[in-house]
């Protein structure tokens, strides 16, 4: 595993934007009432936000960024790094980050590019942004994360449809004089790449006559090859094994213990899975917030969305030691220990 630290870069603020439209798993009539009850109890997911057709991840991030830049009172001329991490980009090409540079009216000297990651995207993004700022001397940066997942889901697939929600989030970072470090652990295991996959539409399997044919894989799971496929059991087994191990190593490397942490914010995947990880690490329940119930699994936006919706007050004043951990599609997993101080966090935005 890659273990490393980045210093002299701090998080200044963060914001999140979700679609107004809500969908409740209580209304998910593809499964029986008792199945619905067990699903909500096990996954912890009750409602999800669903984007209207035509709304993109970058639209959500644009709104979140506009509000955040204004609340931070940042001069746009000083923002010269924009990284957009998503698996639902505006176009096959060009990179969405470049379009956002123009839309946000950032200077042409901006470094802008996309990265394709999901659940682990936020922690990977922090490491890339912080490392790049440190080596280039770029003073202010925006890291944007999120996905519109709903457009890839089959309603007739009970293993995916009730789990995912749409969201975008933005984090503002700047160079600082502080000695606080962000300490990272980043990992990959491509042998599990089929555990979460949209099989067709890339170059490996281009769209063809069979792509949109609905196939019943097993009872309750009917989907096509442009839908998101999820092998929940394998992802669950991977997460409860690898995530606690890598976090234990990160804490050890950082010479910290769980008692040094104020909050542990995990990717919002599944309540039972996240609670299993929390118990293995022996972290108190009060330190572990969830946004799952109201927003579901929001891919790379889930960690900042949880910070905005569950920890806004606590993070807005004073210093806090946070452990953030993302894990899933890839398979890819990454954690970071970061100290925040007086963050600027606008209330969640709905469009």
């Amino acid at each position: 595993m890659a273990l490393f630290a980045a210093d002299k870069v701090k998080i200044s603020g963060l914001s999140a934007c979700v679609p107004k439209k809500q969908e409740s798993n209580l209304d998910y009539d593809h499964i029986s009432e008792s199945e619905r009850e067990l699903l909500i109890k096990t996954t912890g997911i009750k409602t999800r936000r669903i984007a209207e057709p035509g709304v993109t991840t970058s639209d959500l991030c644009f709104e979140a960024a506009t509000k955040l830049i204004s609340d931070l009172k940042w001069n746009k001329e000083e923002i010269t790094l924009l990284i957009f991490i998503s698996q639902s980009r505006d176009y096959f090409l060009p990179s969405t980050a470049i379009i956002l540079q123009d839309r946000l009216d950032l200077p042409k000297s901006t470094v802008a590019f996309d990265i394709s990651l999901g659940c682990s995207g936020f922690t990977y993004g922090l490491s890339i942004t912080a490392s790049m700022m440190k080596t280039t001397g770029i003073k202010k940066a925006l890291l944007m994360v999120g996905d519109i997942s709903s457009c890839s889901l089959s309603y007739e697939d009970k293993s995916t449809y009730p789990l995912f929600g749409d969201a975008g989030a933005v984090v503002a970072l700047e160079l600082s004089e502080s000695d606080d470090k962000m300490i990272f652990s980043l990992n990959s295991d491509g042998s599990g790449h089929q555990a979460i996959i949209i099989p067709d539409g890339g170059l490996r399997f281009p769209v063809n006559n069979d792509t949109y044919k609905m196939v019943e894989e097993e009872k309750g799971i009917k989907r096509n090859r442009r839908n998101l496929w999820l092998n929940g059991l394998d992802v669950f087994a991977f997460s409860v094994k690898e995530v606690p191990l890598s976090i234990a190593e990160l804490l050890n490397y950082s010479k910290l213990t769980v008692s040094d942490l104020d909050f542990f914010v995990m990717h919002q995947a599944n309540l039972l899975m996240n609670e299993t990880i929390r118990k293995k690490l022996k972290i108190e329940a009060e330190k572990v917030p969830y946004s799952l119930k109201d927003y579901g699994n929001t891919s790379s936006a889930s960690i900042p969305l949880t910070m905005v919706t569950q920890l806004r007050e606590q993070l807005s004043s004073g210093r806090k030691n946070l452990l953030l951990s993302g894990f899933g599609v890839g398979l890819s997993w990454g954690s970071v220990i970061v100290t925040t101080s007086d963050l600027v966090i606008p209330e969640i935005i709905e469009i």
Binding site: L38, T42, T43, G232, L233, A237, V240, L272
Partner: protein, 79 residues
């Protein structure tokens, strides 16, 4: 925690509240549990992990059929 087949069955009946107490037998095929779904499988993986420190894989769940087969796999994996 010591693992016996009896305690494992009691634990399953406790964690999965749709199973009537006393109805689960060693040779019960767990897929025959009323309204069996992947949610039940997740509950079993979490239970094995939290209570017995045994990491079950998706394949373990797919290849076993009866409660006692599952018990033997967990027993062989206790860390």
């Amino acid at each position: 925690m010591t693992l016996t087949l009896e305690s494992f069955i009691a634990k399953l009946e406790e964690e999965i509240d749709t199973i009537p107490k006393g109805s689960l037998k060693p040779d019960t095929n767990y897929r025959d549990i009323k309204d069996w779904s992947s949610m039940h499988a997740l509950i079993i993986i979490a239970l094995a992990d939290t209570d017995y420190n045994a990491v079950l894989t998706g394949n373990d769940l797919r290849s076993c059929n009866t409660v006692s087969e599952l018990f033997n796999v967990i027993k062989s994996k206790i860390a």
